[in-house]
Symmetry: C2
Subunit: 211 residues, 2 copies
């Protein structure tokens, strides 16, 4: 396959979406938990988590307002609160089903077999079976005018993970946690470690680090 | 581990960077090729590739101007051209070494063992051994004022991948291509497929798709 811009533009719409999304590579598949002002919970899968920075600890989500994810965006804007849940890879089928357009009064938690967990200090519900649970507070929502998406940035207010997946220097091992990742819109993947290397300097050979 | 915001803020700086980066999950590790106006080539590893949209086909890179990636940003702004190269997982050590702060007159291509490939119509050099090669044109650079990073968005002007990794509906299989991914700042990972599912609807069971 060798396509120029005009070739890409003339592809079938669905083929192009699958191609360009999957070529963009593997990324986290996270479940985002929210609650409306009236108390209705919502759970939706996102493949657009972005690490923004560690100091302050900020993560982003790129949200397409024209899709079912609108519920999530509305709830985040109403309450300022949301959770990001990294789940075990074996739950990929259930996670995928949260993308269906359920009626507003149906919570994807119960419809898709995920148990809600409420944790003090965070309005939005967590997924009990998640291997990493992050409680987020909305700090900014920036329009990407090129295509009408919104970059939602939140600060990490609470983060929970099992110690057994962490090394002494703070590295979280995604293979040990068997955390769910995805490729494109509909494919789910697992992680295998290849290696971890010390800080690179021009005059030194990098050394393997613990993972 | 169960940390609140104030716990996160009081962590050792390096520990926090490793923790928050690695908890953010697995993502592509791509080599970005550029050329300065004077013709000096540059190659740098990024873990911040973002799928922005398929129509038009847009990908983003989150760039921290205060780091060695400044060369990449300068070159992109000078020429408007850059390449995104997805490489085989086995090259993770060499890919990591491109993050060293080499002198300006040294190209990371030769210093780290990657061969330049020039393709007509794209100013910036590609990595010959890449399994997916994307020629990009800068369309926008948006400040993320919260922490001084810049979201660089480019349109895909050319995309090259081997047909053997693609299904009939445009899905690129990252396990077959054994494409490099990463976790955080210094850990490298491979991909294993878990499953692929049909479009989810509330009243239907999802069906497995080919991959």
């Amino acid at each position: 396959m060798n396509l120029n811009k005009s070739d890409i533009e003339s592809l079938d719409k669905r083929y192009r979406a699958t191609l360009i999304n999957s070529l963009a590579g593997v990324r986290p598949a996270v479940l985002v938990g929210t609650k409306s002002a009236s108390g209705q919970t919502n759970l939706a899968i996102f493949n657009s988590l972005i690490h923004i920075g560690a100091d302050p600890a900020l993560w982003g989500l790129l949200i397409r307002p024209a899709t079912v994810r609108r519920d999530t965006l509305n709830n985040i804007q109403e309450t300022g609160s949301y959770t990001i849940n990294f789940i075990p890879a074996e739950l990929h089928k259930a996670a995928h089903t949260t993308s269906a357009k359920f009626n507003d009064e149906i919570s994807e938690f119960s419809a898709c077999g995920f148990e809600e967990e409420n944790i003090e200090g965070v309005i939005a519900p967590f997924v009990r079976s998640a291997v990493v649970k992050a409680g987020m507070k909305l700090v900014s929502a920036q329009d990407i005018s090129l295509n009408g998406t919104i970059l939602v940035i939140g600060s990490i207010e609470k983060i929970i993970a099992a110690d057994e997946y962490l090394t002494g220097d703070g590295f979280f091992n995604p293979e040990k946690a068997d955390v769910l990742t995805c490729a494109g819109l509909d494919a789910y993947t697992r992680v295998v470690m290849a290696g971890r290397w010390s800080y690179a300097r021009p005059d030194q050979t990098v050394q393997p680090l613990e993972f």
